[in-house]
Amino acid sequence: MGSMGNRKALEMVRSMPRVSFVNIRDNPGSKKQKKIRGQGGSRGGESGRGRSGKSKRDTRPPIGYEGGTTPFYLRIPMFPFYKNFATRRQYLPVSLEKLQHLIDMGRIDPEEPIDVTSFVHAGAVRINVFDRVYGIHLTDEGADKFVAPVNLEVQWTSELSIAAVERSGGTISLGYYDPQSLDILSHPLQFFRRGQPIPKRLLPPKDLVDMYTDPSKRGYLSDPNQIKEDRLLLAQKFGYELPDLTKGSRRALHRLRKDPRQIFFGLQPGWIINLTDRAVLKPVDAELQEFYRA
């Protein structure tokens, strides 16, 4: 493109005669000679395969063969680097810097609770549950610049991110969504168009129970009193003053939490959404109600 050598080349070309088929040719090595059998001049006869031997008769040993000694690729013992790789859970990263930017630009509303839907609608992530994505990972890049007081729900985070959010006067919690629920949460309009009842959100599997019941990680299944204690400890650890969430206009916002079986705020499992009539249909049958409340 525009480097020093090319500039000089362009200057040279300006002083040269017009380019035509008479004075151009292919670069050396761009056109490879084909093998020709029989009398094909210089490329005929043996067709570039040489005299008798394994190279002529296509009986060479496989790649990596070392003349009989154990080849390198068989000497090294196998290690399962990629075992179960396809089944591992993915959490798509969103940094605190990105979240602050989205709030500044008005693409995420800090006056409403922020969850996976907010990030997807703001264009920060694209969730496809068939890629084994289990939610959002809030990374701590931009923790110094983060100042927005938010009610946040993600699926993975670090201690520093929790501290950054709580220092700004917000709350953060970790909530588990099984793949079906996460798909519904990330693409709510497409789900409502199906006319299916909102399903119950499943509880986390065994290997994730420890994380979601841990108050130091702000798991949604942990004891709120222990979370309160942990907020104080974290403030002491990182050296900031913990804002009082019981006072102020945002009091109600910070108290909002979803039920473990609930996917959307304000909408319960078992309800059907009627988009054309702009109504919500709720079952009256006792058995159904009992099932969806379980």
């Binding site: 493109m1 525009g2 480097s3 020093m4 090319n6 810097e97 602050q100 930017h101 709030i103 500044d104 630009m105 008005g106 693409r107 409403e112 839907t117 997807v120 609608h121 931009g142 610049k145 983060f146 100042v147 927005a148 079906q180 798909d183 519904i184 709510p188 309009l189 409502f192 168009r193 199906r194 006319g195 299916q196 009842p197 399903p199 119950k200 959307f264 705020f265 304000g266 909408l267 309800w271 059907i272 959404i273 009627n274 988009l275 054309t276 009539d277 702009r278 109504a279 919500v280 249909l281 709720k282 079952p283 009256v284 049958d285 058995e287 159904l288 099932f291």
Partner: protein
């Protein structure tokens, strides 16, 4: 209970509860018999709802009752995404905590102008090719005299680098390419110019 459990097992396949089938078939009938204004793009129902062979609805069975609530629809409205990029709200001071500021406005008589992107950010990006061996800083949306703009910014970047910087201008696409990583420097320069 086993019947209800099957409902949850598979979101994609049709659910088996005959009572919920009844609600939907009545809904479908209602939609088919009247013409409705289309609020969102046409409602697409799952393919299997139209399949009469697997229809498990027993017409003689009593249909389950349900309550209709228009007040709770406000929770649904919150979940409908906006199709337009919102205008950034007014802040008390700039730059915002994340480092964004709106265009100050360039002085009159400047022969070029660099428009912001539809997301209100500067049109500067990094392009990497050949596994990172070739890195270019690209400035898009350059209206007006692109050569003056390109050369002026090139002067500044050569000062920053302390050596020659390669530049390519694509007049038709209104883009300028600089060889190297200069994203932050270019953004600062553009903000100083008032873009």
């Amino acid at each position: 209970m086993a019947l209800f459990a099957r409902t949850l097992s598979n979101a994609v396949s049709r659910y088996v509860l005959p009572k919920y089938d009844a609600i939907l078939s009545s809904q479908l009938q209602a939609i088919q018999t009247r013409s409705l204004p289309i609020v969102w793009s046409s409602t697409t129902w799952h393919q299997e709802f139209y399949n009469s062979k697997t229809d498990l609805v027993d017409e003689s069975e009593e249909r389950t009752k349900y309550l209709e609530s228009k007040e709770d629809f406000k929770y649904v409205e919150r979940l409908i995404p906006s199709l337009e990029v919102p205008e950034p709200p007014k802040h008390d001071s700039y730059p915002t905590p994340s480092g964004w500021s709106p265009p100050k406005g360039s002085p009159e008589g400047l022969p070029y102008h660099v428009r912001r992107t539809r997301y209100h950010s500067h049109p500067v990006s990094i392009q990497q090719k050949h596994g990172g061996n070739q890195i270019w800083t690209i400035v898009k949306n350059v209206d007006g005299d692109i050569w003056t703009f390109g050369n002026k910014l090139l002067e500044h970047l050569e000062e920053v680098k302390g050596a020659e910087v390669g530049m390519t201008i694509n007049e038709y696409a209104k883009r300028v390419f600089y060889k190297g990583v200069f994203k932050d420097d270019v953004i600062k320069w553009l903000e100083n110019e008032g873009f």
